[in-house]
Every structure is written in C-alpha cells, then in structure tokens.
Symmetry: C2
Subunit: 116 residues, 2 copies
C-alpha cells in the first residue's frame, strides 16, 4: 500500500485509531487501514509502519486491549478500547476540533481586519 504522503497526518494517528475503535467496538490493524482509506476516498492512507507502532504504544499506555482470533486459518489481532481509552478517544476528538478552529483563525483570508 502506498502512503498518503500527507504531512498533516502527523499527530493525528492516535486520534484516528481511538475514534474508529470507539465507534466500531473492535477492529484489527488491516481493517483500520481499509476503513480509513474507504471513508476518506483514499485521501488518508495509513501505512503499517506507522499504524502498528501507534497500536502498540496505545496498548502500552493502557488505552487498548488485544485479543487474537483465528479466522480462515489466519491470525487476526483485534484491538478494543479500555475505559481510559474511551475517555481518551472523546478527549482527542474534541481537542482536534478546537485545534482546527484555531487553525482556521490563522488560515482564513485576512482582508480588512485589524491585525495587532
């Protein structure tokens, strides 16, 4: 898979993963990459090299639980949120919304506005 080569993705990976898990209950790594690609029409594509370290980090921080399930002779590792993971998901989403608002105040065209 090719990466979306999107510099803005930096810093949003944990938020994306936590939010998807909050919504879906449990997901496995490959499923997360496909879901992100589908829902953004290919605009955002996660690489495995970025995703797995994030999943492991979140697990290590106590936000995720894992369970391995054999499906069609292959192992799938499902990730789901702990209570603190749920809390973190909600918090990160609202922090992102605030950040975007702040960014809009920087990126909106400033016409005749006073700029102290």
């Amino acid at each position: 898979m090719e990466a979306s080569n999107n510099e803005f993705l930096r810093g949003t990976l944990k938020t994306i993963v936590l939010k998807l898990l909050a919504e879906r209950g449990r997901m496995y790594g490959y499923e997360i990459t496909q879901s992100v690609k589908d829902r953004t029409n290919g605009e955002i594509m996660l690489t495995f090299g970025a995703l797995y370290p994030v999943l492991h980090k979140l697990e290590q921080e106590g936000f995720l639980l894992t369970e391995s399930v054999e499906v069609d002779g292959r192992l799938r590792k499902y990730y789901s949120l702990t209570p603190s993971g749920s809390a973190s998901a909600a918090q990160k989403v609202s922090e992102f919304e605030r950040f975007v608002e702040a960014m809009q105040s920087l990126l909106q065209p400033q016409q005749g506005l006073s700029m102290g």
Copy 2:
C-alpha cells in the same frame, strides 16, 4: 514561552509560517510566535526550538528570503516569501483544508450510516 503542548501542531508548522508570511509580506521570528498566539487566543503557541529550524528549512528549500535589519540597537531577521514560497503557501493551505474535510469524515459521529 510555554509551548502549546499540542500534538496536532505536528506537520502544520510550515503551513502556518508560509500562510502568515503570504499575508503580511515579511515578519521576524518573534513576531510570528506572537501573531500565532494572539490570533488563536493562546490556543496555538510556537516554541522557538520548533520555529527556527522550520524557518531555516524553508529558507534552505528556496521558499524564504532573509534580511537583517537593526531596530532599536537590536538585530531583527526578517523573512519573506520567494515566488515558489508563495506558491507553496497557497498549496499547503488548500491541502490542509482537504485534510480537514477528510478528517471530518472520520471523526463525525457515524449513526445509522452503512459502514463498508
């Protein structure tokens, strides 16, 4: 100065700097940090340790020009955009808007929507 401790800032620094310079014509480092802080009501605060490497990188990439001016006995280093810097500013802003739209499609609450 304290940093805004905002993980989402990752990957947006160049965009912020380029956009401000496109708007203001020329600015010096300290002025950029103050402008960002003021316009975002303290939501986004750039640290010098992050800002100066970005300014030097953009200069190195041919997006910025510098001129040193003595003001009140102190040196100020003004940064302004080259033509390719202007082009990059416009492009990065529109890329950011696209990215935010993609993020909204991930972060919006999914209620009864079909989720392939």
